[in-house]
Symmetry: D2
Subunit: 177 residues, 4 copies
C-alpha cells in the first residue's frame, strides 16, 4: 500500500504513525481490469513500483480511507491517483466488497501482511474504461491476461499478500485459479 | 417475464410449455440503473407493458436463458432486446448474482409468483450508459429516482414480485428501503 | 453502537475520542437470527437499551474491532458480550459482509449516522443456536418475526440507521421489505 | 454430478434426457466443510466415487433442483442424500450463492464441463456439524485440510471442473489459492 495519500489527509505523519500502533486502519483495494462487452475480464492492471529494498514490486491499487470520506470516494480517489485522471473507473454500484483483506503487522495471522499497521481493506474489482498511465512513484503499469496474472500471483512475487488478493479476485470473476 | 424470446429459442411453443410443467426454468433478471461517476444509483429504469388484463404493468428486464447460452450473454441479449441496441449495458464482471428469485406457479411459496412456470432467476443490477428506448411490446420506459422506485415497489403494483426484487436490489446498492 | 468494549481496548478514553475525530473507525455489526433446518430466518433478535435521552432504543449487535483483532473474533466477542456466553453464534465462513454501513458524524451523508464518529461497519447476518440473555446495559432482548422486524424497522424507531441496516439484512436473506 | 436423484423426480429417464438436450438444467452444488467456533474452515469433505471409466473421482455434493422445489430444500436433500441423514448441514441464510458454475456439454466454453447437459449450478459453502457417512454409490468421504484440498484441486484430478469450483470456494472463505 502506498503512503502518499496521507500527505493530504487529516493527520500529521506523527499522529498517523501513532494511531497505526493503536487502531485498525480502514483501506480500500481495487483490482483494475479491462472487460469486454459481456463483462468478461480480459486484462488485469498491475502497478510496478520500486521497493525500499531496490526490487520491483507488482501492486494493486490500494490506499487509506480518510476521515469523513465515503468508500466509493476513496476508491475513485486512489484509482485516479494511481492510474491517472483519465482512467474512467466504473465504481461498483454496491458497497458489498468481494472480500475483506485483513493486513496484520505480525506475519502469519492471515495471508496478508503489512509491517506498518493493522489494516482492514475492503476489496473491489473495478473495470477501467479510459487511458491509464502510472502516476507518482509507480515505474510502470502492466496489463496482463487473467492467465498471466494468475501465474504471476501464484509465484508469490507480489508483496504483502497482493498475490493472494489478486487470485481471490480472479476466482470471484469466475476465472480458474 | 416476457415470453417473446422463446420464439427465437430451441423449443417449439408446445415443447416449452411441456417442459415448464416438469422442470425449473433458468431466468436472468436485470434491474437497469443510471449511475454517477462514483457508482451511486441515480435512476432506475422500469418497463411499462400492457398486461393481458388491460392494465399497465411496471416490469424489470427479465427472460429465459437458452440452451448453450452463457448467463452474461443472456443478460446482454435481454437488456438489448428490451432497452434497445444502444443501451450499452455494463454487464457485471462477477457471475455472483445479488439474489436468486424463485418464481413458483403456486402463490405464497416465495414472494415471487409466475402462473406459467417454476423459474429460478439470477438477479443482477446493471448500469446502462447509452440511449434506451422501449422495444417490442413495451409501451414506455420510465426512469425513476431510487426513492420513487422504492415507493412504487412498496405499493405492490408490480406484478409477480418484481416490486420485492426491486426493493432487494435497492437494499443491495445501499439505498434505504 | 455501545461503547463498553472500549474499556478493554488498547486506548484510553481520551485517546480514543481523539482518534475518532481524525480517523474512520472499523466496526462489525451482526443481525442475530434464529433459523430453521433449511436456513430460513424465523426470528430476529433486537436489543432494548435505555438511551441517554431516557427512551428505549432497539439495536443490533455492534462494536469496534480492536487493534490486532480479526473480524471474526470481533464478531464473536461482541455477540457473546451482548447476548451472553451461551449464544452459540454461527460465525459466517466467508469474510464477505452483506453490506458496508458507513456511519457519519454529519447526518444525511449516508442513511447511517453516529454523532460520535465516522465508523465503517462490516455487516453480517449471524444465526445463533444457543440460549441468549441480554448482557451489560441492555434491558431486554426481543425476538421478532421477520415481518414484525421489517415493520418495526420501517417506522424509523431504531436509532442511527439500524432500521435501514435491518431491512437491508432482511432483503439479503430473501425476505420482502 | 450424480444422477440418482432423477429416479425420484418428475420426469422419466427418457423425458429428462430429452429436456437436457433442449434446456439448461438448474443444479445446486455444495462444498461441505467443518468449521471452528470462529467460522474458520478447518476441513473440506470430498466424495470418492467410482467413475464409469474405472477411476476414482473426487466430487463435491451436487444435484438437480426438482420442479416446485426450493433451492434450500434441494441443497438439504442432496447433502443428506450424499452425506447421510445425520450430517446436520447449516443451510445458508441467504439465497445469494458465492458463484454460478455454468457446465456446458462442449468443453472449453467455461471452466466447467458436463457431457450430458447444460447445467446452471448455484454454488454454496455449507458447514456440516453432524456425523457424515458416504451414501449410495460413493466409496468414501475424505476430509482434507484447506491446504490439502487446494493442492488436490490444483492437480486437475477432479472431474468436470469441480477442482476449479473448490478453489473458488476456498478463495471465497478467505483461504489463499
Amino acid at each position: 500500500m502506498t503512503e502518499t495519500e496521507t500527505r493530504g489527509g487529516w493527520l500529521s505523519r506523527e499522529e498517523l504513525r501513532d494511531a497505526r500502533e493503536r487502531l485498525p486502519i480502514v483501506y480500500v483495494e481495487a483490482v483494475p481490469v479491462r472487460v469486454d462487452d459481456r463483462g468478461v475480464v480480459t486484462q488485469i492492471g498491475l502497478l510496478l513500483r520500486a521497493s525500499a529494498e531496490g526490487t520491483v514490486d507488482r501492486e494493486l491499487v490500494s490506499g487509506r480511507v480518510l476521515y469523513h470520506e465515503r468508500i466509493r470516494d476513496a476508491l475513485l480517489r486512489h484509482i485516479e491517483s494511481d492510474l491517472g485522471p483519465l482512467a474512467m473507473p466504473r465504481i461498483p454500484v454496491s458497497p458489498q466488497p468481494f472480500t475483506i483483506a485483513e493486513y496484520f503487522p505480525t506475519p502469519g495471522v492471515t495471508p496478508f501482511h503489512d509491517p506498518r499497521q493493522h489494516a482492514v481493506a475492503l476489496a473491489f474489482v473495478v473495470p477501467v474504461l479510459g487511458d491509464c498511465s502510472p502516476q507518482q512513484d509507480a515505474l510502470d503499469l502492466a496489463w496482463l491476461t487473467p492467465d498471466e496474472a494468475a501465474a504471476l500471483a501464484a509465484v508469490g512475487d507480489m508483496s504483502g499478500g497482493h498475490g493472494v488478493l489478486l487470485r481471490q479476485a480472479l476466482a470471484h470473476v469466475g476465472h480458474p485459479v
